[in-house]
């Protein structure tokens, strides 16, 4: 799929690991003080490669990437989770991230997601705005969630109507013992 700016949006597949993985890691670690090991990427890409989307320019340079997963959350609702989202600095503000996130969400909905969740740093206004404009709500604040001591908001989006029946009670499946979905690094 190519947009007006000549960007292509590509769904990842495990067969493309040798082409894309290095660039994905590079793009994402730029924003992190501490890189994720290769196993973290493979954990997502091997199991949910179809929930990863790439934005490439006409020369196949990677400008943006979203990595996510989808599974029943502690035996409860089917929860999509946006694990990583990155866009090259000089290409921000053009809607690339929104487009990538929407592509991931669309597949999640197709695959019967009940809700979608993610965390962002409370100071990351651009990211918060992006998700809020898609309909996400802040569901809780996570104190000193990131290595740099910053707190996070957990954002949640319900995408199915059966909210009242399938989601009784407060985060039944999301107790205090809950580990962060993706132990943070920033």
């Amino acid at each position: 799929m190519t947009d007006r700016e000549g960007l292509q949006y590509v769904q990842y597949h495990s067969s493309k690991e040798s082409t894309y993985l290095a660039a994905i890691r590079q793009l994402i670690s730029n924003d992190l003080s501490e890189p994720y090991s290769i196993y973290v990427y493979r954990y997502f890409l091997y199991q949910w490669g179809d929930l990863c989307f790439l934005a490439l320019d006409e020369h196949d340079n990677m400008l943006g990437v979203v990595i996510s997963k989808l599974e029943p959350h502690r035996g409860g609702p089917m929860r999509g989770y946006i694990a990583m989202l990155a866009v090259k600095k000089e290409h921000r503000g053009k809607g690339i991230a929104t487009k990538l996130v929407r592509m991931a969400i669309d597949v999640m909905i197709e695959r019967d997601a009940d809700e979608i969740a993610l965390e962002t740093e409370v100071t990351n206004t651009a990211a918060m705005k992006l998700y809020e404009r898609l309909g996400f709500l802040r569901s809780k604040r996570l104190h000193r969630y990131y290595l740099n001591g910053n707190s996070a908001f957990r954002f949640v989006l319900f995408v199915k109507e059966n909210a009242f029946t399938s989601r009784l009670g407060y985060d039944e499946n999301d107790g205090d013992e809950d580990q962060p979905e993706l132990p943070p690094s920033a």
Partner: protein, 775 residues
Amino acid sequence: MEGDTANSLAREVLQLHVSAEKDSDIPGADQREPCTRQINLDNGKDVQDISTAFRCAASVLDTGQLVKDPYFTLFEAVGALEIMDPKMDSGYLKDSETLGDKFDILKELLPEEVVGLMDQLLCHEMAWHMGHPLSQSLFTSYHIDRLLWPEPKKLDEARFDRQAPVTGNGMLHVVFRAYCLALVKCCDHVHRRIGAEHYYEEEDFVSNLYNRNLLSDFDGAQVEMLLHDAIHFTEQQSKLDEAWRRAIVVRLTLRQRILKAMELDLNLVKANGVQLWRDCGDLLPEIRQTQTLGTPVKEAFSVKIQRKLASSVPPRPMVEIKFEDAHAFLNNLCRDAADVYHVLEYHGCSNLLTFTYMFQSRKPQPAIYIRCLLQSLLFHDMRVLGKITITTLIYDDLAELVLPADVLLDPANGNVEAPHDPRFQLAKKMSGFVLRVGDPFLDIFRAICMNRSRARRMLCHLVLEWESVQLEAEKLDAELRQYTGEKPLMDGGPTGTEIWSFPLSSWAYYYKLRQMEWIVQLGFELGIYQNDELSAMYWHLGHLAGAKIQHIERIQTFVTRRFRQPKRWSAKDRYSFQQCFSFLKVMLTEASATQWFAIALSKLYTALSPFTLLPSRPQRLPYSTSELRHALRMRPFMQLSIPEVPSYSELAAATSTTSGVEPSEGASSTEGQALSILEIADEASKVGRKEWEALSKFGAQAARCVNCEDWWRKSVKDVIRACIICSIAIATAKKGAMKAQGKPVRKMLEAEMPADGKSYHDFWAVQRCPYNTYN
């Protein structure tokens, strides 16, 4: 605990590492000949070399193919490190990089360096208190490293010269050593205090000691002696300039006082805790003034020490806290610590809750050490405040809220031995009740002691527990009637329904409602709700406060009825009733004040919503509907029986600009509707302010804030100020809507939300007055 497992694992890894080193003379030999390598472990376990089998199995896999059993979680993937990646591999050396630094730890110290080093260490200590790991703070000090490793068996071994004691160089060996040891001992006390209470690893505090021991086996008194000697030694240095001498002595004295104040055995300090901490705080101005006398010794700290620490995390940078920030943090710590000891003055259970709540609402929130100290003070020696049984606490509270001078709470019931006697049954049932509710009740206090984000999350869980408590109490209330002989109230209607008092479940419901209110209010404080949700969330808060009003009035009815029954009340009984009535009155005023202010804000935001004065989202959002967002917001309350969760349509109607509103005359429909809603907002805000003012007039005893009156009064005053801002905003909005006369209201009015922490009160998000730029 999780940490212990991690520590023991880390120790095993460390041992493995050590014995492997012994084994191979040539570095990297194991990489060249993996299959023939013999591995001996000190613990005598048999080890099988699986390299060949592993290689064979791996050869049939594609690159990137993940072999994963269900037990390999994301957490483990994140924990994995890649060797030879400089950002992950702490042993990785860049070209020409050395393993350690060439810092001479035995180098004689100049007095200005002693002062500088002490202040640097203070910064690192405070960084740890703020939640950073030791590996990135205090454990980057070569001096501390030398004192603690290899682990000293006697305090005397904890020296900078680990070979043989050296004479001379007193600034280092006498003065600085004593300071460092006392500092470590303080950390030991902090570590143990926090470890004994409820906190969240990593978000509040990092407890990892990296296989080091914080001198925990040595008595604080021994360290105190060393400090004493060090002070004496410094004072004797006649050649030393007075200013240096004083700067060093004041730092040693501060350390002495902190060490004493941080004493673990609360029984030794609780009588004079306030004074001990004030004494610490008294020295801080001088520490600040003399800071410029110090010369920092940068090379005495290095992140390379992390390589020696038992840890599975990648190398991480040193945390640099500015002296001013560390000083301010310590200043708050001393102030909060002194204040927290006032909790021990017991003035009844609800007063205790007010204290805990007011103390924890301070900005900045008290440090984790203080929050854990408060938890310890609240409950130690198996008693609340070390002196009150849980039964007494809960009985006090029941008497204050629902059962003044009631037979249910009569301690004499426990003396009855005949099982057929109703009082024997009452005693039995009530002690069962206390056993059931003790933990959930103390959990309310615990939840408030958490960091604010956790407090809200914990309350969301706790409120579900209180739902069960309420339902169980309801059953118990019904059972107890046969022993108390309670007569129902008959409602005046034609059917004559019986109404019972349900005292225990009323008590539980009251606490459930309070928790629900806090959950919503903390949502405002934590910035959980976005601008376009304010109107609905304040409506919900008003709804909860309304439910509380009804509930308190119900309780009042029954207490009043009991008081009026023909019976000779003793003076003590009458006092008990009086206490209960005064409490109910205050709580009713507070609930009403909350309700009206919440309505005012809800209406204000409703009225202004069509004009989108505040930055907000587009009306239509992909992937989401208002109903779904409503469902998400109400999720914490969905499992609760009462109060009924407002349905989407109910809430939508309450916050709609069109329903049930007649547009004011002579205005266009949108502005007209806005004006009508603003009228309601105006009225509500006036009543709200009056109610908050009424609340502020209660005495400390009535308001249950005897040992925290100043904080409570300030808090109420801040809400009143927020009310005033709200009134001004409403007035300007009205003016704007009136003058618009067809022109876009957006051009007339501006609005902004106060920045984080700039509200008068965190629970009340009042937009700054939309100022009229019309003229």
